[in-house]
């Protein structure tokens, strides 16, 4: 592993601190029926940046998050999260990497139904690891729903669920945050609020954030915008 390789689409800062993808190709499916879900994708996101990825359905956006989040290994190329190469980390190492260094925000929140908002934030602390977590109550206040701390997901609105999901992803103090269609289930105003919140969190807490979205109205919150077409990533133009 040579650290000298330049990160092609990085705008600022040290490449290794946040998220780095180098010539990442992901081939899905088996036999003759294979799909190049990612085709030589290179991307570098430094802590504090919010990068958006737009693109048509089936273009490979979720695949990008899966590879960046150490859920899948690329067929070829290199994925480095906070200085750790996901391929050489091993299965357990990737689980630890996700636990300690990566935060996920899923579509529609994907909260655990049985847990109150505050407990959603306490849950990651049960997964082991010695890292100091952020205070759940403070974090809920930061995302603006401290008064709903004792509510369970079914007692929250879609936007509130998404805020809890963001707070849960941030509670471990990750260096990389991966967000999959956070506004898919929200109205226009709430979408703006949620993406503004993500941008603010990324900047104040120095998190390298990648957000996949269909929603072109929220792109002005983002530092850079890319477009995914047939597995290839390129800069997005209006």
């Amino acid at each position: 592993m040579t650290a000298a390789t330049p990160a092609p689409v990085s705008a600022t800062g040290s490449a290794e601190a946040g998220l780095v993808l180098e010539d990442v190709t992901l081939v899905l499916g088996d036999g003759d029926d294979t799909v190049r879900a990612l085709d030589e994708v290179s991307l570098s996101v430094v802590p504090g940046e919010l990068v958006a990825v737009v693109g048509p359905s089936g273009s490979g956006k979720s695949s990008l998050l899966a590879v960046a989040g150490a859920l899948t290994l690329p067929t070829s190329g290199r994925v480095v999260v906070d200085g750790v190469d996901t391929a050489s980390a091993g299965r357990r190492g990737r689980t630890r990497l996700r636990r300690d260094h990566i935060g996920f925000v899923f579509q529609s929140g994907n909260l655990v139904p049985a847990l109150t908002a505050a407990d959603q934030l306490r849950l990651p602390g049960r997964f082991g690891g010695r890292r100091e977590h952020r205070d759940p109550v403070e974090l809920l206040a930061e995302v603006g729903i401290e008064h709903k701390a004792d509510r369970r997901p079914h007692q929250l609105s879609g936007g509130e669920r998404q805020r809890v999901g963001i707070a849960r992803a941030l509670v471990t103090g990750p260096r990389v945050l991966l967000v999959d269609e956070p506004t898919a289930a929200l109205d226009r105003q709430r979408s703006q609020d949620i993406v503004a919140l993500l941008a603010r969190e990324a900047r104040t807490h120095e998190v390298a954030t990648v957000m996949v979205t269909h929603d072109h109205d929220v792109l002005h919150h983002c530092d850079r915008v890319y477009e995914m077409i047939d597995g290839s990533l390129r800069a997005f133009e209006g």
């Binding site: 859920l71 636990r99 994907n110 909260l111 139904p113 082991g128």
Partner: protein, 375 residues
């Protein structure tokens, strides 16, 4: 535990439903165990309480009816006494009889004929031992509970032999669901051959008993003894099978219990299978968040353990309460702490196995499915 407890609370209606199934099975288990202990007591407590290690029956006698069919000569007793390892041997007669007490109480008796003073002659807790009165009998305490009294006279139906209740042994002594009465061997032989009072008993009958009761230490060679005495030995435990109905009753109950354990494990397994499938999305999310598989498995097993222990405990509580009421009736029923504990532990352990088979699905949940709405 963090997640397990919160989920138990959150889905309490579903867990309560599952718990009540386990609890009801536990109630049934307690009642069945009470019934089997009761039936065992009713069937063989008279044999269990004899200071005997084995019985030597007639050679070739069917094992399930040995006590009613076997006839061995008295000479076999002396042969057995000579065997190395045998501490004592004594003649033993066994026959069932219907009788009436002089106060009109009908009594069914298992007549155990013994040589007064031999090691199988019981020491009564009340009244006099066998010996002086050739027609004196020492009966099971349970007969006194049914209204018989020491001093009563019992007349054997049809042949009219009169027996005098002179003493009683402590506790329940029954055989084939009938109360035991110990009586001198000579009187037993008289009743066995159906001789009316005053009628002579042939010399052959005088020389015959049901079996040789043997008390031996661990070194005894039963096969060698059988060869020398021309008998067929059954250890005391094996001889229980010769008590009328014993094998059929215990194996039926055993079968029911085995089925209940299997049903309970399968039901718990099915429940946790459905539960785990319902949780698939949140499990995928937690695995994507970096939850170690071991943590998720442990949490689910703790959850099933809590459910099983709580519901088994509730069921045992109800079962013991109901059992205490049944114990007061004439049903063959006896609560025994060890067998209840064994039943409860088995229920929990097998349920846990069923749950474990279900929750291993957690390891097959792909954290990738957390990404994207409907992948």
């Amino acid at each position: 535990m963090f997640l397990a407890i919160r989920e138990l609370r959150f889905a309490r209606a579903r867990f309560a439903l599952m718990g009540s199934v386990v609890a009801l099975i536990a109630v049934l288990m307690v009642l069945l165990s009470g019934l089997s202990v009761g039936l065992v007591n009713d069937g063989v407590s008279g044999l269990q309480k004899m200071p005997v290690t084995s019985f030597a029956f007639e050679k070739g006698v069917p094992h399930d009816t040995a006590f009613s069919r076997s006839v061995v000569p008295l000479s076999a007793v002396d042969e057995w006494k000579k065997q190395p390892g045998v501490e004592d041997a004594a003649p033993f007669g066994n026959t069932l009889a219907n009788a009436h007490s002089d106060r009109g109480l009908p009594v069914d008796l298992a007549l155990f004929g013994v040589e007064p003073g031999s090691f199988v002659d019981p020491t009564p807790a009340e009244g006099e031992p066998l010996g002086e009165d050739p027609h004196g009998i020492v009966v099971s305490q349970t007969l006194l509970d049914q209204g018989l009294r020491i001093g009563d006279t019992i007349t054997i139906d049809r042949i009219g032999t009169e027996l005098h209740v002179i003493g009683a042994v402590d506790g329940q002594h029954t055989y084939g669901h009938v109360d035991v009465a110990y009586l001198p061997l000579s009187t037993w032989q008289q009743i066995k051959v159906g001789a009316r009072p005053g009628e002579p008993v042939s010399d052959t009958a005088r020389a015959e008993v049901t079996a040789v009761a043997v008390r031996a230490d661990g070194d005894v060679d039963l096969a060698a003894g059988d060869k020398a005495a021309d008998t067929e030995s059954l250890t005391k435990e094996k001889s229980y099978g010769a008590s009328p109905g014993y094998t059929a009753e215990t194996s039926t109950l055993m079968l029911i219990q085995v089925f209940l354990y299997a049903i309970s494990a399968l039901v718990v397994g099915a429940f946790f299978t459905v539960w785990t499938i319902q949780r698939r999305q949140e499990i995928a999310v937690m695995r994507a968040m970096g939850a170690p598989t071991g943590y998720l498995l442990r949490d689910s097993l703790v959850q099933s353990l809590l459910l099983l222990v709580a519901s088994a405990a509730a069921g045992v509580g109800v079962g013991v309460g109901a059992g205490a009421l049944i114990e007061g009736t004439s049903m063959p029923f006896a609560l025994s702490a060890p067998s209840i504990v064994v039943a409860a532990v088995l229920l929990v352990v097998l349920g846990l196995l069923g749950a474990a088979a279900a929750v291993v699905r957690i390891t097959r949940v792909d954290p990738l499915t957390a990404l994207g709405g409907n992948r």
